[in-house]
């Protein structure tokens, strides 16, 4: 191996070898956000959950919203990357790693929200020791740990050849890279093992990902509360999760492309394709939202309608309508035509979708609890600085982990880009030929198939 590898994709090694002022500045700012959250949590630990804005009917608020939101974002990665890998979409190459990293980071943060939400975090181990599978919370625990294991491993597998490149060429952190490269030398047998494992994981990770947000929705839909007890919630949450996940990838791509000057790797075409995917998800999200709310409205059950109107015209209207604008109106306007300014348009639309999906989770969790069935006074929930602190720290930790990952590992898969150049081009041509009626591949077709037709 020569240094041609490094020379050719020099831009990808940039973040690993050089550290600028911007890095320390970012880490400093994120550190402040995390500090805010840490102080808030220390106060909450010693005083109790009373320091939040939660109260009698609204016993779940920001933390549970964040839980659903972050777990939703986690669908970005692994799911998208697995689907693109399985469908042999060649344009996936610079994107998959970025997406997979989001999944792993955000899953930790999502699961952490539940711990922050506990009244007695010191008794956390009760869930392990005395857990009972009738509770949807245990379904979440199981499903999320499966997803975390699978997606961490799925992130790690395609990293191995890249880590080996770093071990041989970077000259920094050699021990770390040597350990993580698992003795990778790129032998034929090693490639076979790696490719087979990636293929298995790509298939395995899809049903696990779907199960995760399905059981997250079951936390709500298994109760008999108005506007929670809905059969559509499983698919609705999964669709929303993929929706917010794609948006998160696009935002991350936009930022990384700019900061690390990777314009030649993350091209407008990638944004256009992902933008189209986002547009499809916008429409799907709108369709499911429409189906969900129309069913409630038409049925006109008094308990459902109390919650319904509190969202449409009641105290929650600003959140509800902001959600509709951010999740549907803006993406529709921006994404319908992507021929020009694809990057800017998709990034802006995605930023709105991320906010909109957070609002969607909020608008699902809180209004139902605010409107009890019995004539209790309506609950007005507003978070305190403690909850804002946890929100800020959650984003802070997520971005910090991401930034650190970019410092330690190539955020765009080096070997997959090289494989695209060396093998992908030819493979695509050959594959294309097999699609065509008069392709050259006809001659190579197995006898059996000819007999069948």
């Amino acid at each position: 191996m020569s240094d041609a590898i490094v020379e050719r994709d020099r831009a990808l090694f940039g973040p690993l070898s050089e550290t600028g002022r911007g890095f320390y500045l970012t880490v400093g700012v994120l550190g402040l956000a995390i500090l805010w959250g840490a102080i808030a949590y220390a106060v909450q630990w010693s005083e109790g959950l009373g320091v939040t804005g939660l109260h009698q009917p609204v016993s779940w608020g920001f933390y549970v919203t964040n839980f659903v939101f972050f777990i939703g974002i986690s669908h970005a990665g692994t799911l998208i990357s697995a689907i693109l890998r399985l469908s042999k979409a060649e344009w996936r190459r610079p994107i998959t790693r970025m997406a997979e990293v989001i999944t792993v980071m955000v899953l930790f943060i999502g699961a952490g929200q539940i711990l922050v939400d506990l009244g007695r975090p010191d008794r956390m181990m009760n869930v392990i020791q005395y857990g009972r599978y009738q509770s949807p919370l245990l379904w979440d625990a199981t499903s999320i740990s499966a997803y975390l294991t699978a997606s961490t491993f799925y992130l790690y597998l395609p990293l191995i050849p890249d880590i080996a490149i770093l071990r041989d060429h970077l000259g920094k952190r050699r021990w770390l890279y040597a350990v993580l490269a698992l003795g990778w030398r790129g032998t034929e047998r090693q490639w076979k093992i790696l490719n087979r494992a990636i293929a298995i994981m790509a298939v395995l990770v899809i049903p696990i990902a779907v199960s995760v947000h399905t059981v997250v929705s079951f936390v709500f839909s298994m109760t008999i509360q108005p506007m929670w007890h809905s059969t559509i919630f499983g698919p609705y949450f999964v669709a929303g999760a993929i929706f917010s996940g794609i948006a998160a990838i696009i935002v991350a791509m936009g930022i990384i492309r700019r900061i690390y000057r990777l314009q030649s790797y993350l091209k407008p075409i990638h944004f256009r394709y992902l933008g189209q995917l986002l547009l499809v998800m916008t429409l799907l999200w709108f369709y499911l939202t429409f189906a969900e709310y129309l069913t409630g409205y038409y049925g006109n059950e008094p308990e459902e309608m109390k919650v319904f109107w509190s969202k449409f015209t009641g105290p929650f209207w600003p959140f509800f309508w902001a959600m509709v604008v951010a999740n549907f109106v803006i993406p529709m306007v921006l994404l319908v035509r992507l021929r020009h300014h694809a990057v800017g348009k998709t990034v802006v639309a995605s930023a709105f979708v991320v906010v909109g999906m957070w609002l969607e989770r909020f608008i699902i969790v809180v209004p139902t609890l605010s409107n009890p069935r019995l004539p209790f006074p309506e609950g007005q929930y507003w978070p305190t600085w403690i909850e804002w602190g946890e929100l800020a720290a959650s984003f802070g930790v997520f971005i910090l982990f991401y930034v650190l990952f970019v410092k330690l590992f190539p955020i765009i898969s080096i070997w997959e880009i090289q494989e695209g150049r060396d093998v992908g081009l030819k493979e695509v041509e050959e594959r294309l030929l097999t699609y065509l009626p008069d392709g050259a591949a006809d001659a190579a077709m197995p006898e059996r198939e000819k007999v069948l037709t």
């Binding site: 109790g48 320091v51 779940w60 506990l118 509770s135 109760t223 509360q225």
Partner: protein, 225 residues
């Protein structure tokens, strides 16, 4: 085996809150103070709901309805709340992790959370009932400690538990005797008789939770024979 239940006659209820106070004293339910109360964090295992209309004001005392098919116990991740063999929905404060899933699942809002540490153990409290720490859920238990005491007394006297041995604090305190308490399986008991009354209904019956607290509907001019 008994199945403990309650009947509350809405015709008799005057909304005097005696049951609420009796419950608080009996079960060491903390007074959270005006600041916390303004934040909507009052703990009141027995709560008198009020519905005001132009013609009249109606009262509805609501303890935990002790559902026979409780939505709250199903969702508990750690077995901190469960339906005991005699139908009482129990809460184990020492086990509860404070996730508040049971509060979100209860259609009657009968579960309460200790948002802060509202009280310490001290004089003037009922020694039979534990003082709850911060961060756990608590609820009406039909004064379960009274059942334990009544059982012990009956055993010491070498007899069976009879009707009237075990009554909740709210039923005992009600000046208009609107609350009747007893064993629903004991056909001859007052509570079983009233629960079969044509006036009897249960809250949210359509939810399938099968509460063991029955209400007798208001009927103007109605007098119990």
């Amino acid at each position: 085996m008994a199945l403990w239940g309650m009947v509350i006659d809405l015709d008799r209820c005057t909304g005097c809150q005696a049951c609420v106070m009796a419950c608080k004293a009996e079960n060491n339910v903390p007074a959270v103070g005006p600041k916390e109360a303004a934040r909507g964090r009052i703990i009141s295992w027995m709560h008198v709901l009020r519905e005001e209309s132009e013609e009249r004001t109606r009262f509805l005392p609501r303890p935990c309805l002790q559902c026979d098919d409780p939505p709250c116990t199903k969702v508990c991740p750690v077995y901190a709340t469960y339906r005991n063999p005699e139908g009482i929905v129990a809460q184990i404060h020492a086990r509860c992790i404070g996730c508040r899933f049971c509060m979100a699942a209860c259609p009657y809002n009968a579960k309460y959370f200790n948002w802060l540490r509202y009280q310490k153990e001290g004089p003037g409290q009922n020694p039979d009932v534990s003082v709850r720490p911060k961060g756990v859920v608590e609820k009406c238990t039909f004064c379960h400690h009274r059942l334990q005491k009544a059982r012990e007394r009956a055993r010491a006297e070498g007899r069976d538990l009879v009707a009237g041995d075990y009554v909740t604090a709210c039923a005992e305190a009600c000046p208009t005797r609107a609350i009747t308490f007893g064993d629903l399986l004991d056909e001859g008991s007052e509570v079983a008789r009233l629960a079969r009354s044509p006036r009897a209904f249960r809250l949210g019956e359509e939810l399938g939770t099968r509460p063991k607290v029955f209400y007798l509907a208001e009927m103007e001019g109605h007098r119990r024979v």
